[in-house]
């Protein structure tokens, strides 16, 4: 096309006739491209799996004995329809706050715990109700279930924050969720290891540090990543607890 015959577009004038068809096609292409992109990007999201707050269960109250380290867990001694007697459940506060700082939750204290259940598979967590409604210390006495030492293991998987993993956020694990997970751990939310292979029948393990206390902050760079780590494994109630050796923690490609 010679220079003279080329249509010349000026924004504040009308669209040249020779360009109208082309621009109509370009407009339709842009619209169709974005619509297709919306479908493609939308449906390509991974399934986060079934998990989350069970508000449909309503507020639950169970009794049990507290094991404070590495993060407070409750061995249920008097359960209900939703949380059976003999279960061991993790405890959390509201938002990104755990309950490690709650002085009432000392070792072997018997309490009535009230809150909303979060659930993923066989992993349960109780988000305690706010204020004094969440925990009531009872006069009852009880003993912790005996821990069963399962030996030293080298495991592969991911260290997540337990609350998002059980469905407070969906999805609640992975590298894209790493910053949120670290923020949760800073708030004393219990970390959970998701193993690539079920160990002793469970793929989820509560994580603690080598001294039996909370997971050291020096390991937080590895949160949300696929890692390999050596750990002492124990069964406490019906929950597996792994006490990791931070020196052995390494990323796996």
């Amino acid at each position: 096309m010679t220079q003279k015959k080329k249509p010349f577009f000026v924004g504040y004038l009308g669209i040249p006739k020779a360009l109208k068809g082309f621009l109509l096609k370009a407009s339709l292409l842009i619209f169709a491209g974005f619509a297709t992109g919306g479908v493609l990007a939308g449906v390509s999201q991974d399934d986060p799996g079934e998990a989350g707050f069970r508000f449909d269960f309503g507020r639950q109250t169970v009794s049990g004995v507290i094991q404070a380290e590495p993060y407070p867990i409750l061995h249920v001694t008097k359960g209900n329809e939703r949380i059976k007697t003999g279960r061991t459940i993790m405890l959390t506060g509201q938002g990104k706050s755990g309950v490690s700082g709650n002085k009432a939750l000392s070792e072997e204290t018997v309490v009535d715990a009230t809150g909303i259940i979060l659930k993923r598979g066989d992993l349960d967590m109780l988000q305690l109700a706010g204020g004094k409604r969440g925990i009531k210390i009872t006069e009852a006495k009880d003993e912790l279930p005996e821990s069963q030492y399962l030996g030293k293991w080298r495991l592969q998987g991911e260290i997540c924050d337990g609350k998002c993993l059980v469905g407070a956020m969906q999805p609640g694990r992975g590298l894209a969720h790493k910053a949120c997970a670290i923020l949760c751990l800073f708030g004393d939310i219990p970390p959970v290891f998701v193993s690539t292979q079920p160990i002793e029948g469970s793929e989820f393990m509560l994580v603690g540090g080598p001294d039996g206390g909370p997971l050291p902050e020096s390991t937080y760079d590895y949160i949300g990543q696929f890692v390999e780590v050596e750990a002492e494994l124990e069964r406490r109630g019906d929950m597996l607890v792994m006490l990791v050796d931070p020196a052995t923690l390494k990323a796996v490609k």
Binding site: K6, I15, F34, G38, P48, S97, L175, I182
Partner: protein
């Protein structure tokens, strides 16, 4: 063109442009947010905050891709120039979509803790020494900052205040923003995604931007004007008169890198700078409408004899002196101050 600053100088083409682009964006968001959850039929449902964040984030990425493709497309095929005309509006919309994405992310992943959520965005993940798990959020912060800066300074007031050269250099930040967005998604969502379709779409988008820019650069090099040498008489040869078309220009590149647009208008030759005073648009690729050189990018107009926009407009570009030797047109490479009148050279004296 304007003599005073108003928020937007609307015209029917701008309305049409925005209608097309906005409908495309709304279609993307509506399909992503409203339709795809039912199509997926997943076992678990993604939180609406995360779902919305992903919808707005991916939309902003594809909008940026389109924005960056328009430039080279218009260089490769002039029929795409109308898409360039109102691109700034699309850029401002993209910044707004990006802000919405950030709003959802910050108020979800970084909320609910005892820390300030904006501070948490910066301190939660500090694994800067590793690739996997790198704090990809920082790339998003950088991109969004660039996009907001560009959106805020997109108005012609800033163009005039900063001068076209500085304004243009500032707005090249769009490339840094795009690269940063690619890094943001590559180190973020794509690290987790098991379904590869989004990964493929993002790779194709980034490649499209890169390939179009390379093709446009090749075309520029192949057909672009080579710097002409200054002759002994201190003039630069432009072309023969017979090569010129009435109402259009021949562009010559001088040794100092400046380009001159030599126009033929009613058997008379005049020369002005090729760079439009508005956004450095290529005046030599425009044409004369109503006796005025009209820029192909945004329609800014100049009198070819003195390089001045018609009153009441005030834009001015430098003019050049021409010489005719037989059938050959020569230009004096020394530019006259913007707005200097130069008597046109008649080709049939």
């Amino acid at each position: 063109m304007s003599v005073k600053y108003i928020p937007v100088q609307w015209n029917s083409n701008k309305w049409k442009y925005n209608a097309v682009m906005l409908s495309a964006v709304f279609a993307y968001l509506w399909i992503f947010i409203e339709l795809t959850p039912d199509i997926m039929q997943n076992e678990g449902r993604i939180n609406s905050q995360v779902h919305n964040a992903r919808a707005f984030g991916s939309c902003a990425f594809f909008m940026l891709t389109v924005i960056l493709c328009i430039g080279p497309l218009a260089r490769l095929d002039e029929r795409f120039l109308p898409l360039l005309y109102n691109r700034r509006h699309f850029g401002v919309i993209a910044a707004a979509i990006g802000v919405t994405h950030a709003f959802y992310i910050i108020n979800w992943y970084f909320a609910f803790s005892k820390s300030n959520k904006y501070e948490a965005l910066l301190f939660a993940n500090t694994s800067y020494g590793q690739l996997a798990g790198f704090p990809f959020e920082i790339f998003g912060v950088f991109s969004l900052t660039c996009m907001l800066l560009l959106a805020v300074t997109s108005h012609d007031f800033w163009l005039k205040f900063l001068t076209p050269r500085i304004w243009k250099n500032v707005h090249y930040l769009i490339y840094a923003a795009y690269i940063s967005v690619v890094a943001h998604v590559s180190f973020g969502i794509l690290q987790d995604q098991q379904d590869n379709r989004l990964t493929i779409a993002i790779i194709i988008s980034a490649l499209a931007v890169a390939v179009l820019h390379v093709l446009a650069a090749f075309k520029e090099r192949k057909t672009g004007d080579v710097a002409a040498k200054t002759l002994d008489n201190n003039l630069v040869r432009v072309c023969d008169v017979s090569e010129m078309i009435d109402g259009y220009a021949k562009v010559i590149k001088l040794e100092n890198g400046e380009r001159v647009a030599v126009y033929l208008q009613k058997d008379k030759l005049s020369a002005i700078s090729n760079a439009c005073a508005h956004q450095n648009g290529p005046l030599g690729e425009g044409k004369i409408i109503d006796c005025l050189v009209t820029c192909p990018w945004h329609g800014f107009q100049y009198n070819v004899k003195d390089g001045s926009s018609p009153a009441p407009f005030t834009e001015k570009v430098p003019t050049y002196n021409l010489h005719l030797d037989g059938d050959t047109v020569f230009v004096d490479p020394k530019a006259n101050p913007p707005g200097t009148y130069v008597e046109p050279v008649a080709i049939n004296p």
